[in-house]
Amino acid sequence: MVELERHEYDVVVVGAGGAGLRAAIAAQESGARTAVVCKSLLGKAHTVMAEGGIAAAMANTYPEDNWRVHFRDTMRGGKMLNHWRMAQLHAQEAPDRVRELEDWGALFDRTPDGLISQRDFGGHRYARLAHVGDRTGLELIRTLQQRTVALGIDVYMECTVTRLLTGPAGGGGADGERGITGAFGYWRESGRFVAWSAPSVVLATGGIGKSYKVTSNSWEYTGDGHSLALQAGATLVNMEFVQFHPTGMVWPPSVRGILVTESVRGDGGILKNSAGNRFMFDYIPDFFRKETAETEDEADRWYEDKKNNRRPPELLPRDEVARAINSEVKAGRGTPHGGVYLDIASRRSPEYIRKRLPSMYHQFKELAEVDITAEAMEVGPTCHYVMGGVEVDPDTEAARVPGLYAAGEVAGGMHGSNRLGGNSLSDLLVFGRRAGLAAAEHARAHPVRTAPPDDALADAARAALAPFEREGGENPYTVQHDLQQTMHDLVGIIRTEAEMQQALARIAALKERVAALSVEGHRQYNPGWHLALDLPHMLLVSECIARAALERQESRGGHTRDDFPATDDEWSRTNLVCSQAPDGSVALTRQPLPQMPAELAEVFEEVPA
């Protein structure tokens, strides 16, 4: 019998970023006994790094704005591959989700009328992002954290879930129905094991970016939730779509990849190459030509007069801007450190820059000795977000395994092939809440609780301790480094069949190395051991990305094929879905895109471009 502590809940939420906390709040408020389990301390989750704002058609600055325009922008930004129902719910509910944050203490920047101020961002027709300077994520996480504490929700901090437990679902379902029965994990501090019995588990574990070498993501982004869902029998959709944010820092090397917020461009910043040209005008795709400015004069007038001018090309969706920067650098027009220039210093006053972009000012000053009120920044693409994730029912965020829910970055479908800036924070709130409500409802309908069987717990414990059993094996940091290099070189912004075949071969070899690695020291707060347990997740998710990317023979959003550069109509009707075959390998199936109802399709006719 394995030694562990046991707990029983109605709903266990894995992850304490925006989606996890919003789900926990919803579940607890609807009467479910709820726990949050998170790898870091409460309040440190990746949401804290979001800078620009929360997209919501509140119409505080532009009365013309409404959910239909937001819906349209989101679908077009995702190149129409988004699940229409998720995009609809998101656009409709985001304003209420933002307003309710104010009831919990959030303090957004204001308009002169005292309403929530909204700022411009890429791909959004109107100024739509509720924000607090450029630290909106911090405001969001702190507000939800304080609400979580006020509601008395149990939080298991610095605790990692390594397995989801499944078994006969506890009453309420069909006979023989199998579903979630709980989760298994360990305390990072002590290395001791924990098991939670619960009929509902909400995954809110964020993304996968730590599998890439240049990334804006922290150590936590190892794809745990994607991998746990897959292993429990759920499916992943759209995994080939990985967003490279166009503007990450490029110098000095140790800060390469750290995010430079899109607000710099939303607030007037422009991109220039080493020749001083505002090159984005050369990269306007036909798909967005009608809504994009043709001249620098028109682009500059747009900031003041959006009715009579079109958006600057710097504010095209992120996939377009990232590809353009990549092309400029490849063509030899990059900066000395392999990026392009992002210039706001010559366009806005130092006071304005410091007021609107305090974190960016601070970040460049402290880490790169660059004063952004006086000089241009050097920026380049950085791995930022995975559009793909757990395939869920749009209304309830239920995965294909009864009792399993997913919300936020770990869920797929909402953003299609490319996410618009600002749509992540609103996604967390809208679908976090829906997942929490549905998980609580599922728990009510399944009142019979089954304790996890001893053999399943013993097996999970054995697997977790295996790296200590092996002696003289490789160090986990080396394997992680090689995976990051592989994904960066072979499954990055621009992809080809040959390179992805090579990536899959390397991933297979890395899997063998992970199975043989060993860790030093003991179980108490041991980062080497923690990484050893994260690596199998990273490899499984990386394989899903590479397999799906190899299969999709077209270019769309966050997936660009050098060997298939065009967008293909046939593929616009197809999703790729990953599942785990009984032998543990990744199986890929093609699935038709859900059909958008006629009344929503009309939205694309009615709104002027």
Binding site: S40, L42, K44, V48, G105, G137, V149, P252, E366, Y477
Partner: protein, 251 residues
């Protein structure tokens, strides 16, 4: 630009430990956290350290560097001479878990004790209206990334474990100030600030403001105004008389 630096890093656990000396490569533009990570991946795979964003936004990688409370991710190696030994030790105010990781649960317990934010009702159209100038006062304190460097440096608790029960520390005094200045909040927490969170223990030496990586003026803009508000409430003779005659509820 690459050179070998001498690092002394405290290693151990609640039972004790000591400084271990490492020689480790340093490259251009690196911060202390980069060097700690290099130690992890090349010389000490189980070296315990907390970190997340590596961009000064999450407040996880707090430690004492050459005796000074700092974020490891925002301390550039170029601030030290190449021959200078860099000493990294865990936050002294909190019990050690292992190596550079400390048990900061004290902070989470204090946070949970503060009476929650309670808003006035929304306006008829469902919005809250506030002026930018009014939200900015509380916004300064909401910049706090909860790195707890202010808690670490505060002499009231740094070497006085016994004060932790009666003193919430600068981080939570500015949380009280933030709520007190919040345009929507309707709860008066001045009695609690004094009686339960130990506002009176602070003798405004401003050490907390000095170490804050967000540049928050904890003492000048938060703690001193809060002290003044408590004094107004407690020692204003009319308020005192009123509370006796009309038995005004304390909140």
């Amino acid at each position: 630009m690459t050179y070998d630096a001498t690092f002394r890093v405290w290693r151990g656990d609640a039972g004790g430990g000591d400084l271990q000396t490492f020689t480790v490569e340093v490259n251009e533009g690196e911060v202390v956290l980069d060097v700690i990570h290099r130690l992890q991946s090349t010389q000490a795979g189980d070296l315990a350290v907390r970190w997340n964003c590596k961009a000064g936004k999450c407040g996880s990688c707090s430690a004492e560097i050459n005796g000074r409370p700092r974020l490891m991710c925002m301390t550039r190696m170029s601030t030290f001479g190449e021959a200078e030994t860099v000493t990294v030790t865990p936050l002294r105010t909190f019990p050690v878990v292992r190596d550079l990781v400390t048990d900061v649960s004290y902070n989470y317990e204090k946070a949970a004790q503060i009476p929650a934010f309670t808003p006035r009702p929304r306006e008829a159209d469902g919005s809250h209206r506030m002026q930018q100038v009014d939200v900015e006062r509380s916004q300064e304190f909401r910049k706090c990334i909860e790195c707890f460097l202010c808690q670490d440096t505060c002499h009231v608790i740094r070497d006085h474990e016994e004060n932790k029960a009666v003193f919430a520390g600068p981080r939570f005094l500015i949380r009280l100030a933030e709520l007190d200045m919040h345009p929507l909040d309707v709860v008066d927490r001045r009695h609690e600030a004094q009686d339960e969170f130990g506002l009176g223990y602070c003798n405004i030496t401003k050490c907390c403001s000095e170490v804050c990586p967000e540049g928050i003026h904890l003492t000048d803009n938060g703690i001193i105004p809060l002290k003044e508000r408590v004094v107004d409430r407690r020692y204003d003779p009319l308020t005192w008389l009123g509370s006796k005659i009309r038995r005004r509820p304390r909140d």
